[in-house]
């Protein structure tokens, strides 16, 4: 195994532990926005999609790249905006009219 894979495994493991710690503290009232928001984060695969779509490897690769960018962008833009839409609705008692 190359060094970068080892490093990747280390990073993956530590980030998983961090994820467990962080997410266990999210209150149940925010679980739906947590889900859509973390969904948007998994759209990070857009980075790979951009590299494929922007590379010069022939039309097949560009077609795949285009589809990947479309899917990942739906994931990113849709995920963040719908999460924002939900979080805007949450308000405290004192703020009520």
């Amino acid at each position: 195994m190359t060094e970068s894979v080892i490093l990747g495994i280390v990073v993956f493991t530590l980030a998983t532990f961090l994820g467990f710690e962080l997410i266990q503290r999210v209150p149940p009232t925010l679980h739906t926005p947590l889900m859509s928001g973390s969904n948007a984060i998994s759209g990070i695969t857009i980075v790979g999609a951009l590299i494929i779509a922007g590379g010069d490897f022939g039309w097949i690769s560009q077609a795949i790249g285009f589809a990947a960018v479309v899917l990942a962008m739906i994931n990113v833009v849709g995920g963040y905006s719908v999460t924002d839409r939900m979080l805007r609705m949450f308000r405290k008692d004192s703020e009520s009219s």
Binding site: N39, I44, V47, G48
Partner: protein
Amino acid sequence: MPAGLASLIYLVSAALFIMGIKRLQSPDTARNGNLMSGLGMLIAIVVTLLDQQIVSFHVIIAGVIVGGGLGFWMARSVKMTSMPQMVALLNGFGGGASLLVAGAEFLKAGMFGEPLAIDTNITIQLGTLIGSVTLTGSFIAFLKLQELMSGKPLTFPLQKTFNALVFLAIAVLAVYQVVVPGHQAEIYYAMVGLSLLLGVLLVIPIGGADMPVVIALLNSYSGIAAAMTGFVIDNQVLIVAGALVGSSGLILANIMCKAMNRSLANVLFGAFGGDSAGGSTKSAEGLSVNEVSVEDAALRLAYARLVIIVPGYGLAVAQAQHAVRELADLIRKNGGEVKYAIHPVAGRMPGHMNVLLAEANVPYDQLVEMDDINPQFPRADVALVIGANDVVNPAAHNDPSSPIYGMPIIEVENAQSTIVMKRSMNPGFAGIQNELFYHQKTSMLFGDAKASLSALVGEIKSL
């Protein structure tokens, strides 16, 4: 841009994702946290575009416009009740994108005739498998949630054996691809096809009521698929972000399972909620229910000191969230206190009911979790159950033969009195009789939830 600098900027993105999730610990900071996370994503996208690997921008611009536009339109137009479907679709798209990236990397290596390094090859196979399962599994979950497909578990003889064989075939093909030198595109395609099939097979036997667990789990998969893509293209930010999402989905799936007193294995392979699971344990014959008129119910609510409202998904189906808020406002104006008791599976996904009530302007500090509200029932004058059934069924505590025995419930039976708003005496989701309805402290208010609530509001106003 030097490669080292790009890596450091990706690190900023990863840090923003982490800080964004941390800010989800309170509704006060959550919106800001989501924006931070979005900023992290934007930074990652910009750095990638500025990096030397991009030579042409036409395809990218087209893809960003189409995908971004579609995503924005979906986010704006989706109804809050349809949020589970939306999340299912988004999961699927994320998984699909990861699958495409892994596939493109595989084809690219073949085109240049370069043998793939073993570890890259392994991660491509894994990314392909997980991405495919996420894509088709999410699509089936979407169809079931949208009721374009029956919510009943779809089973056939030797299903588990068949699924296991499909999985085994995928494993064999993947291992062959990695171990045997050369670049066999046909084998790769076969593996993609089987993985897509596996996603379908894994979700069809799961009942509609268990979809919340499934989408949480698929959420986790979409994260892991993204992390695998990170290994494939050797990019740490994908690995960090993917791992965060992977753990998030797993925790949520676990919480939902606990709330239903079932194991994850039982949800995934148990085919719960079919015709076979319907056996009602206690016959309702010979028992009578107390019906209450709108006038009497209004009177009791108007003079109550503490009313605990227990909303179920029936409330959302009747679109009665605004009506219930209006009723709660009136009770509070009369000097009573109102709280909402939220069961973890009250909606169609974790935290769904909270979002639905927030949309109706119910302040989030009136929404109380199950464990915190249960001790308060003895001092509640009225517990108002609206469109909820199984989550308030005392059989979960006292009837070991009940299918829901052991499930944590909202302990409505401890309230001074209970008013249950229900369309009819039909049993709920799991097809189980509810003895709460026959209890002498319980009064039933039959009818459409929205109409009944409006009638109650009118009645209290005229008192």
